[in-house]
Symmetry: C2
């Protein structure tokens, strides 16, 4: 039995309920910019997956940013590629390099052999979720997550990161049937994976479509959005009587916000190229919005950081509307926090978000 | 005195005048995917700048793709970084690497010392333009080009390509005054550079804002678009009684098409994430559009290449409108052609663009 939630500001904003201030968390908030994270990682054999596969370490690093900053949500410490790893593709992280698969999907036989993995292989993730939830003891909600079917497929076919996605796009244009099979399996696996995280204690879930924005307009709809939709259609939306908000974030997806919102997401994540005011008008508060400070702002002075944070909050505007409805804004960066970010600037950021939004929400109504 | 133009389809489409078919050229059409280009480059000491700085070689490689494919325009063979090189930043290309500057702009003194370069230092470019124009002998028009002030500044401050543009964005957020000075000088230099290309024989010019799309919404307007505007305001729009169309292409700029069109560009370039039909509706044929096939399509089968090319053409639709006005579409890729592209697929592409568009323009009116 988990402790009652003491700070539900994040969940309320996701569901477009009134809040006293704008909640804030940061993508990759548990990470290399924190000295205490580096120490934990060293203790885990200087290995990212050493941290992620050990629930004790995963709990430790998930809570580190919360001990430093008054953030309004925690996010599971893990990687988006755990699912394809459990499918048998053989994930590894080279020193100073990105992820790599030993067995990328390059031919018809490999695609035919692909299947939704036994969730028992991902037990370390669900154990980490339970452990983190228990350690949080109700401080803030815990967010679970997964890569989107398309983003997973990019890595599964390319075998690593890519500049131009040539291998996966060649499959898409030359053998769309193979890619559709991969994506259907990914979608079912992601849905089961997220539902199991919810059963283990995740109070919100986020789908990272990190590479949706590299697709041609029609291809985005056919190969990315259709399979995010397939995930959303299977997702548990309530657990133990509580609504579990779902966030969908497509980096580079600013042209497709309406369609992303229509998947049934509670929250649409925005990168920093989007104008938040315009996005809110387009979406008309049918869903909440999350974002969207440029992570590079955090390399300026604390004063500049605070000013840019206030500009983002003012751009969204007051949550209350003249027509009585309410919008929802979760403050975040438009992408993961950079590993070289000065920690004091994060202090300035969180402080500015809380104080400026508190004043705004108390005083004003959006007309 | 140059020979009269035999094929003005490209220029007519840029100016939204009726054409028999949709003209096509490809960004980076003179390049490494062509075996004859590789041979020329080897002859020039296996050096990119060896080709670009020698008007005889630059002419040779500019014409190579025209001898292979019935393309409707030639584009000057050069690099976007010639201007900062002439400013004294020391451009070099490492083996198998991108461009690098020996003297990036990292402090106040370096920024204070920056000035519009003497165009005599860029004489090799203008000589190449004259030489190419003469060698073309009126076959098709010649396009000149430059990087945008912002895109040049990215390289000038970073000193090389970048994943996250941390150095230039840190300057932007912490010392915007320094960046504004660089951009103002770049804009004046780019305008003079393009005007001198026009005087040397360029019949259209294109501004490549390759990195505008990495900017935060407001920052794009302040640091990229405002300086593209400063270029456009100084640009020669006529030469020898002929209109010289200006094309502006911001990669990742799909959210800002209306504002880009409002700079006074005759043509707005689109990357493949844009829906061409939607873009045309937004722009309402106030300018022509150029683009926007995903370059990775060229790795599929010739049949798939032709089908995707037809889809792009159908997406734009007939140039003639029911209200008597005319739209303009220049077919292109949404980014430079990839060096590994199979040459036969380019044959299939150009053939499909010409034959499909000829049938469409003859038969239909856009309603």
């Amino acid at each position: 039995m988990n402790a009652p939630l003491q700070n539900d500001t994040f969940l309320r904003a996701c569901l477009r309920q009134p809040t006293d201030y704008t909640p804030v968390w940061l993508m990759r908030q548990a990470g290399r910019y924190l000295p205490e994270y580096k120490a934990s990682r060293l203790a885990a054999g200087n290995s990212f997956m050493g941290l992620a596969t050990n629930p004790r370490y995963a709990t430790e690093v998930t809570l580190q940013p919360l001990d430093r900053y008054p953030l309004d949500a925690a996010i599971l410490f893990s990687d988006i590629l755990t699912v394809p790893d459990a499918m048998g593709l053989g994930l590894s992280f080279g020193a100073g390099e990105g992820p790599r698969f030993a067995h990328p999907l390059r031919d018809e036989a490999a695609v035919a052999a692909l299947a939704v993995p036994d969730m028992a292989k991902l037990r370390y993730v669900f154990d980490a979720v339970s452990s983190i939830r228990s350690a949080l003891n109700g401080r803030v909600p815990l967010i679970g997550f997964s890569g989107s079917p398309w983003t997973l497929a990019c890595y599964m076919v390319e075998g690593a990161g890519s500049d131009d996605y040539r291998t996966v796009k060649t499959m898409m244009y030359a053998r769309p049937d193979l890619l559709h099979r991969i994506l259907a399996i990914n979608a079912d696996a992601v849905a089961t994976y997220l539902n199991t995280q919810i059963e283990a204690g995740a109070q919100a879930v986020m789908v990272f479509d990190s590479w949706g924005g590299v697709l041609e307009h029609r291809a985005f709809h056919q190969f990315s959005l259709a399979y995010t939709q397939r995930v959303m259609d299977q997702l548990k939306r309530e657990h133990n009587g509580q609504r579990v908000p779902a966030i969908v974030f497509t980096k580079g997806g600013g042209q497709w916000l309406e369609q992303i919102a229509a998947t049934g997401a509670d929250v649409v994540g925005l990168d920093w190229t989007c104008d938040l005011a315009q996005a809110r008008r387009r979406i008309d508060d049918r869903v909440a919005l999350q974002g969207n400070l440029d992570p590079m702002v955090l390399f300026a002075t604390p004063e500049a950081v605070a000013a840019e944070a206030r500009a983002v909050i003012d751009s969204f505007g007051p949550q209350q509307r003249a027509d009585g409805r309410c919008g929802g804004h979760v403050f975040n960066l438009g992408h993961g926090i950079n590993q070289h970010t000065p920690t004091d600037n994060v202090t300035a950021l969180v402080e500015a978000v809380h104080s400026h939004s508190r004043a705004l929400h108390a005083a004003a109504v959006r007309v």
